[in-house]
């Protein structure tokens, strides 16, 4: 199975909005909960009540960026498998446990075949794969393949656990091969980008970059024309003048 399909009928994936993600980690625990009870071995935690170390398929990083001019920013950055079109994790796998589904492009690990060599995790530039130390097998985001088609759950819930739970609506799921899908349109409108394009993995998941920040007052700071100034054109400088204006205005009401 290790050969990548020449093409996939769909490219199911996630679109993650870095402008909106508040970094709440809801998607992290929803993912952990679903995937512990479903697909394959449970996601374990070792020394769970001490210096704990567990397996997670989705993790939220946070970065700060400092421009030369202007205010520093903080960005929350969720990361799970990007279901790459040119997935190096798949081709390196000797056992065929790693594969990319021809029908929807989801990259999965067949746990029955995995020998836990870790090579696929080495091959993934994004850190999207983790060996579960208790089960001894490779774990990764399944794109909730056992939810999105699941006839035992209501149709409206057939989406990844992380998407369903995200309170801020920063995660979107759909078919990125279909240019007319909601998420393809979102990507086009918001200028969605690939992570590490130079790695040549052709990720399916896209990230929507944060919108420009700190524009209130930016004009004054850069001596541009201040388009907001008219909104504060004074009606009076002194209380007496203000009260006069008040009288006149009340008259007009």
């Amino acid at each position: 199975m290790t050969a990548l399909p020449a093409s996939t009928q769909k490219k199911l994936g996630l679109v993650i909005d870095l402008d909106t993600c508040v970094g709440c980690h809801a998607c992290v625990t929803a993912c952990k909960g679903w995937n512990t009870q479903n697909y394959g071995a449970p996601l374990s935690d070792r020394n769970a009540y001490g210096d704990a170390e567990g397996t997670f398929l989705n993790r939220i990083h946070a970065y700060q960026s400092q421009p030369d001019q202007g205010l520093a920013r903080t960005t929350h950055f969720p990361k799970s498998c990007l279901h790459c079109d040119d997935a190096p994790c798949v081709t390196v796998c000797p056992t065929g446990a790693s594969y990319k589904r021809a029908e929807d492009g989801i990259v999965l690990v067949n746990e029955d075949a995995c020998m836990g060599c870790g090579l696929c995790a080495w091959a993934c530039p994004y850190g999207a794969r983790e060996v579960d130390e208790v089960a001894g097998i490779m774990k990764k985001c399944t794109l909730c393949v056992d939810r999105i088609y699941n006839e035992n759950i209501p149709e409206i819930d057939r989406q990844p656990a992380c998407v369903r739970t995200c309170p801020a609506g920063a995660r979107h799921f759909g078919d990125l091969a279909d240019p007319a899908s909601d998420i393809s349109i979102l990507v086009a409108e918001r200028g969605g980008v690939d992570l590490m394009p130079e790695q040549g993995t052709k990720p399916v998941n896209k990230y929507l970059p944060p919108r420009p920040r700190d524009t209130i007052g930016a004009a004054q700071m850069s001596d541009d024309e201040d388009i907001l100034a008219p909104f504060l054109a004074p009606v009076a400088e002194e209380p007496a003048g203000f009260l006069g204006w008040l009288d006149r205005s009340l008259e007009r009401l």
């Binding site: 170390e53 970065y63 960026s65 000797p94 075949a113 090579l119 080495w122 530039p125 089960a135 992570l195």
Partner: protein, 296 residues
């Protein structure tokens, strides 16, 4: 990358073992009988011990046999095949020499090619990983091959050839280091390309307080000062010292010292091979950021 002892041991020992096979396979007049037995025993011991130690880092050994499936795409699978073919071919060759005193030269040549191929496939497992720019360079397979051949030549007693390969390996090693130090920058993967954020980007918070598989496995950091010292030690032990010893009048004891020094040196280079390798995922965890900030 985290220098896992089993993997380091594997690549060092099996490299030397398969190198020895190469020379045994190519010798115009190979030893026979007991002498052959000793040589092949050493070669098998090294290569098989190496292979076995490699399985230590498998988390799910019961599926190890499945690694033969994906030879079409996976270098690890190809390595498994190559190793088996090499060992089997060499077995035929060895049995003929040891028990029948017969030199099946073409089988030896085939075995030698397969042995070299095994070393090459091992190297390619690392070389192919774009996510580890230091490994992802031409010098990686060359280094594995030259060291394997140098080790093999020393073990098989071809002093001049050994000296030549040692020189070659030394050169390739320096090249690998020199190029390796530039590969991360050349690969073009930066915290900015990783996050697609702009300006001076630093890590605010890791996703989790503790370690995880990734940080343990791939975000290993070796102090720069430390690395330089180790490089000198490695180079001296693996190349310089054995070369000097080889130039002295030969004795078994000296040869043994040369070989041990060489193997210790190669072990050190292999430790560095891992410890110095920076996986791009480290960027997400704030590793290499200092370096990038300085470069920027």
């Amino acid at each position: 990358m985290h220098p896992a002892p089993s993997v380091i041991l594997f690549s060092t020992l099996s490299g030397a073992g398969f190198g020895l096979f190469v020379f045994l396979g190519l010798m115009p007049v190979p030893p026979v009988g007991w002498a052959a037995f000793v040589f092949f025993a050493v070669a098998y011991a090294l290569s098989v011990a190496g292979l076995l130690s490699a399985t230590f880092h498998l988390k799910n050994k019961k599926n190890a046999w499945k690694s033969y499936r994906e030879w079409r795409t996976s270098w690890l699978s190809r390595e498994a095949w190559a190793a088996v073919f090499a060992l089997l071919t060499m077995a035929v060759y060895a049995i003929a020499l040891i028990f029948f005193g017969v030199h099946l030269a073409p089988v030896g040549w085939l075995g030698a090619i397969l042995s070299l191929a095994t070393v090459f496939t091992t190297a390619m497992i690392y070389t192919q990983l774009r996510a580890v720019p230091r490994w992802n360079q031409t010098a990686t397979p060359l280094m594995f091959l030259t060291f394997s051949l140098a080790g093999g030549a020393m073990l098989s007693g071809f002093v001049t050839v050994a000296a030549a390969f040692l020189l070659a390996a030394g050169g390739v090693l320096l090249w690998h280091w020199w190029k390796g130090d530039r590969r991360f920058a050349e690969a073009g993967t930066t915290i900015q390309s990783a996050t697609r954020l702009h300006d001076r980007v630093t890590l605010f918070e890791k996703p989790h307080t503790g370690d995880n598989y990734l940080t343990r496995e791939m975000v290993f950091r070796v102090a720069r000062k430390h690395a330089v010292k180790l490089r000198v030690i490695a180079f001296v032990l693996a190349v310089v010292f054995p070369l000097i010893l080889l130039l002295l009048p030969m004795s078994h004891a000296l040869a043994a010292v040369a070989i041990l020094s060489h193997l210790a040196g190669v072990l050190t280079t292999r430790w560095l091979f891992f410890a110095e390798a920076e996986h791009v995922v480290g960027l997400y965890y704030g590793a290499h950021l200092g370096k990038q900030a300085r470069a920027a």
